[in-house]
Amino acid sequence: MEPVPGIRHAAILRSSHAHARIISVDTSKAEALPGVYGVVTGADIADAINPIPSAVRVPIKFYPIAVDKVRYVGEPVAVIAAADRYIAEDAMELIEVEYESFPPVADPVAALQPGAALLHDDVGSNEVHHRTFRYGDPDAAFAKADKIVKLEWRYPRYSSTPMETYGIVANFERQPDRYTIWSNFQGPFILHALMTGALGVPGNRLRLITAPHSGGSFGIKQAMFPYMVLLAACSKLLGCPLKWIEDRLEHLIGASAAADRADRVEAAFSNDGELLGLKFDNIVNVGAYVRAPEPASVYRMHSASNGCYRVKDIFVENRLVVTNMTPIGLNRGYGGPQFYYALERVMEAGAKELGIDPAEIRRRNFIQPDEFPYEAPAGSIYDSGDYEAGLDQALELAAYDELKAARENARAAGKLFGIGMAAGIEPSGSNMAYVTLAQTPEERAKAGGRSGGLGSATVSIDPSGSVTVKTVSTPAGQGHQTVAAQVVADALGLRPDQIDVITEVDTLTSAWSLASGNYANRFSSVVVGAIADSAEKVAKKIKLIAAENLEVAPEDIELVGGEARVVGVPEKALPIRRVAAQTHWHPAGLPEGMDPGMFETTIMSPPMLEAPDQQDRVASAVTFGYVFDLAAVEIDRATGKIEIVKYVSVHDVGNVLNELVVEGQIYGGFAHGLGGALMEEFVYDAGANPQAGTFADYLCITAPEVPKVVIGHFNTPSPHNTLGAKGMGDGSSMLAPTAIANAAADALGTFDIVLPLTLNKTWSMANGLEYERAGAARAKTGERPQEAGAVQGGLTGKGSVELSAPPADVWNLLLDPDTLAAVIPGCEALEQVGDDSFTAEVVIGVAGIKGVYSAEIDLRNKIEPKSVRLVGKAAGALGFGAGEGRVTLEPLGDGRTRLSYSYRANVGGKVAAVGQRMLGTVTKILIGQFFRGFERRLKSSGDGGDQGPGFFRRLFGGGKP
């Protein structure tokens, strides 16, 4: 896309360190490269703009680029502008950044430890937000409970990885000074205010123009706004328009993701299954910064914390923690998957403990049809619903009794078969005010009122009589054009193909507001209502004009088949085109008092979307859909494969506007939920190094993995918009992880389920084995801030070799620098720099993937000639690592020695992010080579060992013949 001439192409140098101080950035070599237009560093940006404002009042300066410190791998460090992207990336390699490493924080629970490294010194803690909420009397509810059920778990970090990545063209022009940004940003446009705040300009001096199709978003394209600020500032500093297309590697480490969490829930039940009270304890890992609109992810479901149930007494504690990971943001279901993983698993666990069928326990607690509109304890006003009817439909579609019989048969045959379910409401059309729950009532009072969720649309007819609809909705493939055309065509008696729908946003010309954009299922809950109202205004005007021309009352006119005609007298009719055109061509001939022209705009803010009250109650959304999912799974004990035997999903979306669009959304939401349940995870090691930097390691769900879903509808029209439609689209992305986890829990006989249920993990669980994911850092589930120890994890291995010399000889040779230099694979130089300290230059390469690494090795805890601990680190162009190993020597009696070793290492940089699956193997090859060389040295015969020297020369020396 080249909307302006003279565009330069930007590439972003990103930190390969998780946590480090930037000592210096030398851009001179990069700037000297022909074709390079300029380089901008964090220091330049900090001089040029303000920090981006946050929703949380903590002393964190959030710039779109690292200024003095890097806080996550992937954080921008410098921006290069060049004639093309190739040159820009060449220049990127020439920038020299000197870092001073700090201990990384790779886990939200460990981050809360007293001794944990601090990400933001001015905050004084890694806890950046902490609030508690009490609705009703939860303590009394728990005191009278017959049964209290507790669960705690880790929820993984994953994303919805849209097909197209971020794309931005930014241009700064003079007279008047104005930034223009073309992008596939999805909104919400409240972020426009944050961007102008950072750039220090009034709203009309930042013009945002979005594309008609954003290439998929799922919330992820909310989080591109810091990059928009960054590119805008660079355009001004460098004096040229800049284009930046995020590549997939950048996207997977540096864009955004849904929050990973360390949560706990308690539910109080009576013996007959009545849910009396709930206590939620949420620890949200927001990543390195509290990027707006966080902490909204933990507040989106907050005012509906009762789910579908009548429970009144609820306690919620929310803590937000910063760690050295990529900041989180909107992602399909925003906070919903994590919330239902608490509520709907504890309902299922409660059912199991009380001996009540999981469908039945839900039925007993559902809000009843005659209770709507229903005011939830935390303030949501549920518009309509019949949850029990939806459940009944799901059980019927699932043939629940037959399914239970199948489970008994399977179990009798020794198989692992489970049924799980989940019920949830789906809030749509957000109240911008729910974000302010992050503030106390006092803070809110001071800050001034916030409320509402404006939606707008314009329907116009031009002088030729053609109809155009303009919305501010930035669609990502959800069929906004289709549905808008259909709604307007219905109102005006035209065919959908006669209606043009314009969805591009231009903040200088569109009727936009803070809530504009494409998120929170707001199209069918809010935007369509505005479209329908505008169309209705146009229809009314046409009828008035036609009525006067045809000399009948306006009520007698109907709009059908492109004509305004008198009801019952079809031959008495006027073409709608001609009637509409009259408002342009002949205003004087219009009915008395009618405005000329045909532009009808509706701006609506649903009236129930008020500011939070003193008790922190707020109506967080306009419509409340309903989803009931039921999953039956069979787990293959031999391979860990989870087969989805049946999946039923029943939805209340209000009136269905377009069946095909709704079905597509249901499948898409399910697929995202299934991905989170089974395979998708951004894995970080204990050094906070991302290990899933490509689609080879971040396993995005694909079509062959998605089973058939039996879809049912049980629709209760919403009273909150003209068409009775509710928002939808998140749907099963929120419930599928839980329904599948519940089914797996039923099959495996434990609620201690941590997603994703990968093949290896499920196999380990099915066979009662410990499971540690290679490369993954995780404090164990159940560790709370006061208990958690150091985070472990990374690349591990162990082994032993038998050597043909006694331990004393082995010991001496092992600590001899000359020997080490000779046998360390690829060692070019080795120097002893202290009694027990060495430095080395090592060339490691496989198949042309070759790098020079500088290593430092310390020997500790030496017990001659028995054991020694090695602590070391290495760094090179392709990556770096830190680790430690232990070597023990054991005499074998015949003058031989068994040398045993074990190691644990964390590897970062490009080689870890994109080559994770090769690391273990390369490590093994290197160790193997080391000991073969060592044995040769011991024998001092130089006979070459069991592999020809040519092999290793080729493997590690570079592959020349």
């Binding site: 992207r85 190739y86 990336e89 060449d90 390699e93 590549d247 997939r248 590697l249 950048e250 031999a638 391979t639 860990g640 494969k641 089974l678 395979m679 894995v683 899933a692 490509t694 080879a696 390691d697 396993l699 769900i701 694909t702 062959p704 993995e705 990968t758 093949l759 290896n760 196999w763 380990s764 084995l769 499971y771 994911r773 290679a774 490369g775 993954a776 291995g797 496989v846 198949a847 042309g848 993937i849 392709l878 490009k910 994109v914 080559g915 994770q916 699956r917 090769m918 690391l919 273990g920 193997t921 390369v922 093994k924 090859i925 092999f951 080729r954 493997l955 592959g959 020349k960 013949p961």
Partner: protein, 292 residues
């Protein structure tokens, strides 16, 4: 994600390609389908001075059926191989393996020779070639040589190809009498690098006992290899034998670890898939014997 500048060369003949390889003294990468090399170039994991595109060497796209073997030129696309009935009928193991290679779209571009040259430890085509005891044909200014596949793969992404050589073709032994073939793999998603892949060729004698056996493992260690199953020749082709072999071999392997799987799980898959694949091969062999 843009490569370092390189010289792009597109020779029309093998000799021209060899000339170019010589000119760049080993600092050149050969590209055919580009499915692995393209990504490695873009990520700047490899930075050759030149990329030699052999897609113009039309002679390397031929398939030739001989008496005992089928020869496939290095440039034969995976999809083309699947659409060549004689190849699929004569080399059943390749026919069983190919649907597991990547995706429909990638197979239209990916070549048999490219997969062998890249030598991913999990790749199906090298595994089939090793299991069948096929050969790799290489050409250099020094002439042509046929390298047994079992000696060609040296380790992770590493082969015996010398820097001045082009892989020109693969040789696949044709199906043998009384012999059965089977292939199975497990991956988290269809088309992924297999966590473990198992291939088998088993011959069952008229007495119902195994007379010849080859059990290939992929994704387990740093290269595809054939397990040592010699001790089981002469045993009956039964489920019990299949399980016995798989369990025995599983104890001997030294599996790699990565995000998707640890060593125990890979060992377990050797047991499970090994037993299944062996039994499927025994059954196929028995069927062939009875049909004959």
């Amino acid at each position: 994600m843009k490569p370092v500048a390189f010289e792009y060369c597109r020779p029309d003949t093998v000799d021209e390609a060899l000339e170019l390889l010589k000119e760049f003294g080993g600092d050149a990468s050969i590209i055919s389908g580009g499915l692995s090399l393209g990504a490695m170039l873009n990520m700047r994991l490899v930075r050759p001075k030149a990329v030699i595109d052999i897609n113009g060497l039309e002679d390397l796209a031929n398939i030739t059926v001989g008496d005992a073997t089928v020869s496939t030129g290095a440039l034969v696309r995976q999809a083309a191989a699947m659409q060549y009935p004689a190849l699929m009928a004569d080399v059943p193991l390749l026919a069983l393996a190919l649907p597991n290679v990547g995706h429909y779209q990638t197979r239209s571009r990916g070549t048999l020779g490219g997969s062998v040259a890249h030598a991913d430890p999990s790749a199906e085509i090298p595994l089939a070639l090793v299991t069948l005891s096929g050969a790799v044909t290489l050409q250099s200014p020094r002439g042509k040589r046929d390298m047994p596949a079992r000696e060609f793969f040296l380790g992770l992404l590493t082969t015996d190809r010398h820097a001045d050589e082009v892989i020109t073709g693969l040789t696949w032994p044709r199906r043998r009498d009384r012999t059965g073939y089977a292939f199975e793999e497990i991956a988290q998603r269809h088309g992924d690098f297999a966590i473990t892949a198992v291939a088998a060729e088993a011959t069952i004698g008229s007495d119902g006992n195994i007379s010849d056996l080859s059990l290939g493992l992929g994704g387990v260690e740093d290269r595809p290899f054939v397990a040592a199953t010699g001790a089981f020749v002469g045993k009956p082709g039964t489920v019990a034998t299949a399980e016995d072999i798989a369990n025995t071999i599983a104890e001997t392997v030294d599996p790699m670890i990565d995000l998707q799987a640890n060593a125990d799980y890979r060992r377990q898959l050797v047991r499970v898939l090994g037993a299944r694949v062996l039994m499927a091969a025994f059954t196929d062999a028995t069927r062939q014997r009875e049909a004959a």
